[in-house]
Amino acid sequence: MLEVQETFKKEFETFKKEFKSLNDYILLITVDAKSYQKAAIDVVMSLVSEQNIPGVYVSLNKPYEIIQRLFASNNIDTRLIIFIDVCSRTETKKVENCLYIGSPEKLSDMSVAMDQAVRALPRENKFLIFDSLNTLSIFNKPGTVARFIHFLTTKMREWKIKGVIITLEKETEPALLDELTQFSDSRIDIGGGSNG
């Protein structure tokens, strides 16, 4: 487990060095279930705590309260992040700096929310973390997910942001993963696979 974390840190540091000069990129992180949480925290820590970059965190796996607690326990300033909670089963509502969408099936609402949140961030340097893509596949048809991926990557380019897409490698369809790798600038694999 520790070895995996070290590998991720190493790969992420290499990635940061390579893309340091770039304001915008798309990074795909494929993880195994064990290292998933640590990977997400490390990415947010690097962007928020180390570089003071504001951003948007789209969560399909954990409710806002849990993520906030998790980030706070890792000394991440959650005030710099706009959260979009897609996993909590509730009506669409906004509480503090979080918008609850209500269901991962509401892709249109999710898209509008992401667009509005990213555009509201005032600085040029900003990020969007999509956590995680494989959960989307549970609730939507493969064709719909593929279209959404295309939309998301195109939008990330248009917004000129640091885009990070996290997905569990084993739970993601190989064709979908290939497509996503093709759209991304770099890919970091944790828990098997190779660097792209």
């Binding site: 003071n52 005030r79 906004k94 099936e105 509401k106 249109s108 609402d109 509005q116 949140a117 509201a120």
Partner: protein, 139 residues
Amino acid sequence: MVNLGIVGVTTVIFGITSLLLISRARSRLSEGSIRRYMDNFAICLAFIVIFSIWQTTRSLLGIDITLEGLGNYPEYIFIIFAYVAFVVASFKVLKVSEEFGFKEDGKRIDKLITEISINSQTKNQHLAKKSMKLNKIRK
């Protein structure tokens, strides 16, 4: 009379085209706030289109339809319904803007980043002064 007929038919065509476009847009959206707003908008438009069809038909055929207690032009009921639906749709838009509007969050974050950068600058200056003092003492 002919001119009015042309205007009426054109209005109906535009209205029906708009309804078809909304229907196509709606079918592409998944369930949620945006789709519900579109439903409200479609209802408003539907009332106006019904009003236009009624009025155009009446003016082309020269028929006067009167309903007891509703005056000479019952088609105006649809305009009233359309305005009511517009009020409901506007209220829904207000709700959507409350949910999806992040402008205030953006301003708050901007202020916060400015504060953080000022604090870190002050801290760095303080540290620099401290290390200069230490260097002087060492010398």
